[in-house]
Symmetry: C2
Subunit: 205 residues, 2 copies
Amino acid sequence: MTIRFHKNDLPDLSNYNVDAVAIDTETLGLNPHRDRLCVVQISPGDGTADVIQIAQGQKMAPNLVKLLGDDKITKLFHFGRFDLAVLYHAFGVMPEPVFCTKIASRLTRTYTDRHGLKDICNELLGVSLSKAQQSSDWAAETLSPEQLEYAASDVLYLHRLRDVLVGRLARENRTSEADACFKFLPTRSKLDLLGWPEDDIFAHS
Amino acid sequence: MTIRFHKNDLPDLSNYNVDAVAIDTETLGLNPHRDRLCVVQISPGDGTADVIQIAQGQKMAPNLVKLLGDDKITKLFHFGRFDLAVLYHAFGVMPEPVFCTKIASRLTRTYTDRHGLKDICNELLGVSLSKAQQSSDWAAETLSPEQLEYAASDVLYLHRLRDVLVGRLARENRTSEADACFKFLPTRSKLDLLGWPEDDIFAHS
Ligand SMILES: Nc1ncnc2c1ncn2[C@@H]1O[C@H](COP(=O)(O)O)[C@@H](OP(=O)(O)O)[C@H]1O
Ligand SMILES: Nc1ncnc2c1ncn2[C@@H]1O[C@H](COP(=O)(O)O)[C@@H](OP(=O)(O)O)[C@H]1O
């Protein structure tokens, strides 16, 4: 596995002449107002990943933000709802258009309620992911080799997962519903930041 | 209050040269697969309403369907999620574009968790609605005068409510979030019919 490590930003976008980029983030916790962004991982889908360490209080990352804001490039996430909120809060850019493997899994793998990244990598790709580093100190000044490897592994399979899930959505005739969900996702994330994190805004009561 | 009663369909669309129509439905219960559509109420926003009784097994209502399918006319609902599912299931037409007063209320009246039609009519318009007929036999061959009046009252105030809520959304800078919710609402209703009625499709787990 090739991991390119950077501080603050990508050096350039030369690896990202692609139509889809996989993205994940690591934070100090699950509350984007409280818990800062520590790491952004991205992959062009060729089995390599860039792991970018974000400094405390960092407000700019011009190359990364340019990539996130490029509406010709689909942004692949697993549970993008969280990463979109984190990235929008940190850099003021809302990555669009989006494909979320968790939503695609929910819409197609109706035979299970296990829609974690580990579960779908295992079932759909036969790849076994370790989640041991998930709860670790991502704000550490020096990230451990295990953390870097974990961070990278969270984006390395999203392109292949998307391909499988696109096929499942088509097979079950749910492509247009998935597309509508992906289109709404940035608003769902903004509502999280605005103060509706738990509510289902579409519920009766 | 002027109520025009019809069986099966509107006689014509002459009262509906409008940019927004208020719509509500009455059914035999809350499960659109089990509980049939009994009544469709609509109002052009001039203080009058059409109450249309739908027969068991009725599959067509050409004038009504034409109105519902007219994308130049905004469809005003209170908790449109339910009515959209019912109308799509009954007639195969998805009314769009949509404005939902419950969602607009959730996004603006953050000082309360009371977003019922009765609550918002009371607070925003000073109008007191009776909900006494809400749970009644809407499949009865002859609807009572109380039922007709109740059915009509559910659409008579939606235009005025929309006007107030549009102002609140603008004041709180939440118009674009509301618009995105309204745009997603037809998909949310289709997912209800497809078998995801309770799940928040955007939830982590
Ligand atoms: N309420 C929540 N519970 C668990 N994980 C959550 C969460 N909200 C956001 N997440 C994020 O969702 C990801 C896990 O998703 P899943 O459980 O489906 O595999 C985690 O990302 P990381 O693995 O990058 O830390 C975690 O940060
Ligand atoms: N789970 C639910 N609980 C209560 N009302 C529901 C519901 N799902 C749909 N509805 C509909 O939502 C409307 C009431 O909304 P509210 O409580 O916000 O005023 C009712 O319409 P009717 O008044 O036309 O019967 C009812 O049919």
